[in-house]
């Protein structure tokens, strides 16, 4: 039988038993809707969690050991030779040292134009880290430069984009301050600072210099509550103030995420520690999301299986009840194989119809859920614009999975239909 004939006859059979087909399609629709809705929710929440807890899969954070035997075992201080050794580990494509500035830096007044947001007399102590420019080069704004400007010049700085999100969603509403414009428009903003000044008694340096900083970019590689300056600037300030030159941390960039475990092992063998706190937090959140999504998807798969069983049961009943019709088809020229394919196609068409309806229902439900959530939840930091994600493969899965489940459910009834003996049935 031609494909056209198969479809025509399968459609005719479905039309003949509209009520049964509708019930089967409803079961498939429920399975597809649950599958697409829960998967989209899991993917959406995962994306939101990744935005909230960014952890780059290729980064390995190296810190000095808590107790060091120094040079005896080749571990201990993170100096330039150590950075070179770390950079030479197989699988490492870059090694970027960080230097936590041990010279205090404070801002005694607001940036120009923001005085109204600055409480009178407030001095803001700012933690500062020196970063290798290569680590953040992609985040430096167009026309801006992140390099040591030399003594007395305005220092280029980077802030965490996430800090601005926290300010906008938490600090600004709490203090009734104006929200910031989108991050990129803040580039070029300058602020006076005092280098060597500390609000902590006994921590202030003997010499305090006036300076200025200028925002040249926003980067997720900058810790949230820290201001990043060029590494060379930090080293120069440490030399000026007589501080140790050892790096506080080295960030290694693995060539591939798969290389990370081996790189981390090599780092530990060299006597250093690997700081996995950020990665562990991200992984914990990811694990919670994955487990929850997995449970919901399992539930959806169970619903698909139940839909397949319902279709199997319904088609079996249909084949039994309509054996005579099948025998007539055979008398008119259908082979047992044609009959088999007609019943499978019937199941597939019902499953596909249920899948289309279920996928559309899931999209509609997700829009409604988003609307409800966004209108009732407070505007917390990193709140996503949507809790659902629909990559192109997901609607396709919503169509294919119930159709496939229905075809699987139709296998036994189709085999039973193909076994019908026309002479015995028509006799």
């Amino acid at each position: 039988m031609s494909a056209r004939g198969l479809v025509w006859i399968a459609r005719a059979r479905i039309r003949a038993d509209r009520r049964g087909a509708l019930l089967d399609a409803a079961a498939a629709c429920a399975g597809a809707a649950a599958l697409v809705f829960f998967l989209a929710l899991g993917l959406g929440v995962s994306a939101a969690a990744r935005h909230m807890f960014p952890a780059e899969a290729r980064l390995v954070e190296v810190v000095p050991p808590a107790v060091s035997l120094g040079g005896l075992l080749g571990g201990g201080r993170l100096d330039d030779p150590a950075v070179a050794r770390l950079g030479a580990i197989p699988g490492v494509s870059a090694a970027w040292p960080r230097l936590m500035l041990r010279v205090p830096v404070a801002a005694p007044q607001a940036p120009p134009g923001m005085a109204s947001s600055w409480p009178p007399g407030m001095t803001l102590q700012i933690p500062v880290v020196g970063l290798a420019p290569g680590m953040v080069e992609k985040d430096v704004g167009a026309g801006q430069r992140f390099a040591d400007p030399g003594p007395g010049a305005t220092i280029p700085v980077l802030l965490s984009g996430r800090l601005l999100e926290v300010y906008d969603k938490t600090i600004a509403p709490a203090w009734s301050l104006p929200r910031l414009p989108p991050g990129v428009s803040l580039l070029g903003l300058e602020m006076p600072v005092r280098i060597g000044l500390s609000i902590v008694p006994g921590k202030q340096e003997r010499e305090v210099h006036d300076g200025r900083v200028r925002l040249v970019g926003l980067s997720d590689r900058v810790p949230m509550y820290v201001m990043a300056i060029p590494l060379e600037t930090a080293r120069r300030l440490h030399a000026d103030y007589g501080k140790d030159p050892w790096y506080s941390q080295v960030t290694l960039l693995a060539r591939r995420p798969d290389d990370v475990p081996a790189v981390a092992d090599a780092v530990r063998r060299m006597g250093f520690n690997v700081d996995e706190s950020e990665r562990a937090a991200a992984e914990r959140v990811g694990a919670v999301v994955s487990v929850t999504t997995g449970a919901l998807v399992f539930l959806a798969v169970v619903m698909c299986v139940l839909a397949a069983l319902a279709i199997a049961r319904s088609l079996s009943a249909s084949v039994r009840g309509r054996a005579r019709e099948i025998a007539i088809l055979q008398a008119l020229g259908a082979t047992p194989s044609d009959v088999h394919r007609v019943v499978l196609l019937e199941g597939g068409m019902i499953g596909l119809a249920g899948g289309i309806a279920g996928t559309l229902l899931a999209i509609a439900l997700s829009l409604a859920a988003d609307r409800l959530a966004l209108s009732t939840l407070p505007d917390f930091p990193f709140r996503p614009g949507t809790f659902f994600a629909f990559p192109p493969w997901l609607p396709a899965l919503g169509l294919v999975a119930p159709a496939l489940a229905a075809v699987l459910g139709a296998l036994a009834p189709a085999a039973a239909a193909a076994r019908i003996e026309p002479a015995r049935t028509l006799g």
Partner: protein, 232 residues
Amino acid sequence: MISLAGVEKSFRDGAHQLPVLRGVDLEVGPGELVAIVGPSGSGKSTLLHVAGGLDRDYRGRISVDGKDLSSLPARELARLRNATIGFVFQAFNLLPGLSAVENVMLPGMLREAGGEPPGAVRSRAVDALIRVGLAGKAGAPPARLSGGERQRVAIARALFARPRVLLADEPTGNLDVTSGEEVIRLFAELAGGGMAVLVVTHEERVSRAAARVLQLREGRLDRLATQLGEFS
């Protein structure tokens, strides 16, 4: 056109075999209307099923349009049923979910790839309905047709593929006198046009139209009478 030689068929009843056909020989040529009569349970329908390739569990030799049924693969046999043989049943056997014209279209839609497009199939189905006098009932479901109309739809379906052989099992059994005579007249016309028509019946009015009447008794065919039917 239809040839049966030494055909035997039995059914299993527990441990026993019940013979139904015991060496049946039959020849139906083109343009011939042959009636087989016999009491209920004598095996008339069984004979029709084996002759039409619906039942392959028999011994002996059956050929239709020169093709030996026992040697045909399932697909070829289905093709023969689709294109060469037309079936008409006592119970009409129309598909209740399809309209009259869709029922007639079925053989065309069961054709293998490369057949006519659905539009052409529908057009020919409508022509077949016109031929049996049901032009105005094309869209009606079987439930809304009378017994005579249903049987005419079934005949239109059997004639759709322009078969060379027509096998009819008690075609007038569920019809009133007028409808039954219309059907018999149609069969006689078809035989007159060169079709081989084999009718199984227990009604005398059908056998009167047949060129030959054979009686199936105790699994064997006996020539009962030879006559020109009143319609032929």
